[in-house]
Symmetry: C2
Subunit: 371 residues, 2 copies
């Protein structure tokens, strides 16, 4: 293997790879990025065994071949290389020689044949979504997926078909038990719905990163236990979680007794300020709704208390309830419109938040009991 590659292109390939590989891999080869020449350039593959990302990058191939090197180590080096063009050559003893400017690095390598084979997906059906729509859906759902819950089914985003007569629609749903968010977008093609369609949290986050700066269609194919996400130059293989997602519709209140409309930024910033005086562990802030104002208040032992009034329009009876400020701020930050509606029941019933500029997403936050 002997190739010339632009430093920025190499850094892009390795930045992606080192984000995928495990920090403390169970097998040393799992810390490696597999580099392979293709007729068009360089292919870089990284995996943590639950997900595999294969990316194609522009390079001039002088001699074909493949090699596996420690992804993080190579990334640290590539970032600081001088000169625009980097030469990558597998030399006699199997090491990878990296030349750029006045620098010469000779990197230890793994046997490329030991690199895990990406499993195939025996699934011909796939759907296509606009990259912007997929970014929007992930941004509204990813933060609400549980990071590492022992209710295993909460550790992924549930995917389902919510098509109506006039169009095909796919919905992603995430919840950690404290809040629940769904967002949906139209698709073309076929959504092959399996029984358990749970995209793991890390994979969803990595796909979101890969979508940055890409405009165009993204293809998604679901198999029984895996999904493929691809666009020109990128292919991601994701193992689906083998677990059950709860019947989330059960927690969505069918009706509400109170409806509050409020400016999203004003509420979020007021909440951020008041929550500085919320108790660290619970982060709970009192929301006292009256006909024209929401008074936020918090108290922290030994520190003091804070309160702030936010103008609102309330339909229904005044009520006082508590929320975890961080959960509420994160939901408000995942919205885009300037105004938001809160649909409330009694003090301990779930609160539904709707972005008044976006019908294709819904957010639920569970209240907390106030002392």
């Amino acid at each position: 293997m002997d190739i010339l590659i632009h430093r920025d292109e190499l850094v892009r390939a390795l930045a992606r790879a080192q984000g995928i590989v495990e920090k403390r891999p169970t097998l040393p080869i799992l810390s490696a990025v597999l580099l392979q020449t293709t007729p068009e350039g360089l292919r870089a593959t990284a995996t943590d065994k639950t997900m595999t990302v294969i990316g194609d990058y522009a390079a001039t191939v002088r001699s074909s071949g493949e090699v596996a090197v420690d992804a993080n180590n190579f990334f640290q080096i590539a970032k600081v290389l001088s000169g625009d063009i980097v030469t990558l050559t597998v030399i006699d003893n199997g090491r990878l020689e990296v030349r750029a400017g006045a620098s010469v690095f000779k990197l230890s390598t793994f046997n490329a044949a030991d690199f895990p084979v990406t499993p195939a997906l025996d699934q011909a059906r796939s759907l296509a979504m606009e990259s912007g729509a997929l970014r929007r859906v992930i941004d509204r759902v990813h933060f609400a997926v549980a990071p590492d819950d022992n209710r295993y089914g909460l550790n992924g985003a549930h995917v389902e078909d919510t098509s109506v007569s006039d169009g095909a629609v796919v919905r992603f749903v995430g919840t950690d038990g404290n809040r629940l968010c769904w967002a949906q977008a139209p698709y073309k093609g076929e959504l092959g719905i399996g029984k358990k369609m749970l995209l793991p949290r890390k994979g969803l986050g990595e796909i979101r990163k890969l979508l940055d700066g890409y405009e165009g269609d993204v293809q998604i194919a679901f198999g029984d236990r895996a999904a493929l996400v691809q666009y020109p130059g990128i292919l991601v293989h994701l193992r689906l979680l083998e677990a059950d997602f709860p019947d989330y519709r059960q927690v969505l209140p069918a009706s509400f007794k109170r409806r509050v409309v409020v400016d999203r930024d004003v509420l979020r910033e007021a909440l951020r300020r008041v929550s500085i005086l919320a108790t660290d562990a619970t982060n709970s802030v009192r929301f006292q709704f009256t006909s024209d104002a929401l008074q936020l208040s918090a108290r922290k032992a030994d520190a003091g208390d804070g309160k702030e009034d936010v103008p609102v329009e309330l339909q229904g009876e005044p009520i006082s309830m508590g929320f975890n400020a961080r959960f509420m701020v994160e939901v408000l930050s995942a919205m885009q419109g300037s105004r938001v509606a809160l649909e409330l029941g009694e003090a301990l019933a779930p609160c539904i938040l709707r972005d008044l500029d976006d019908d294709n997403a819904l957010f639920v936050v569970m209240p907390v009991r106030l002392d």
Copy 2:
């Protein structure tokens, strides 16, 4: 106490205070900033018992008084306040009411009378230095002061008079045993030299921060066990370290066998690259000097090796020696000129580095033994 203060001015006062107070104070009051009205505005005092910073800030005093509040807590709140003007009022129960925009915070307070009294300095003599000159001296010395050495005298910067017939000059010296740096600048007035003139590392760093953005003279007065640093609006009281600084002139070689001139940035960047493949613990890089080139090389087990050639001018015989890359990079970063001279003896003798654009500083790095 009842005052109006611009939010930015309050944030400036509290940012300084929370940098001084201890994170885990031995006495609760040591986490507090003391706020006192003056005829001109607000005075804020913070201390960690080894140093005290007193700052004056513009404010409109409607009613005089004083109060002590948790510095970090108040800083977190002040940072996010809305509106330009903040009202600070001590209310009935002794709490401090903070009003800004739609927010009202009521902060717990300490008894202001419990706040430690800043000791007086019975020292009439003081010197004056240009703030830019003092910044320059601290920037060249502070990083080399030991952060927490059991050779207690290394934990401060040594101050001495190096005046010559045509002008008064003060020199600061710092060393952690691995490198040694001194820098000096002219002064006006009187330098009252005590026996042990050791400015503690943290105090030196805080003074450097306080000098940012200030142009004009800085007054420094040394007492037996403390120093006062002041400029209009700021007064810093520093306890000097009660320890002996080593006789640093003994480690400075009187002559050299080799002299190398090299571009500072080129050497520093090459060193940064090659050191990625240095062993983490020792960080050692081989410097192989020949008549026209310096070859840097490093090797890390299991990762690989790196090398790079840097053009140099060498007077004297070729030699190969080792340096801790981080120590060398930090010294090169503390210089300003484009070219630097390395004065070398044998492989394990101290290396003196001189900024060819600056006679008023000197840097020494100890070599390391190569395997």
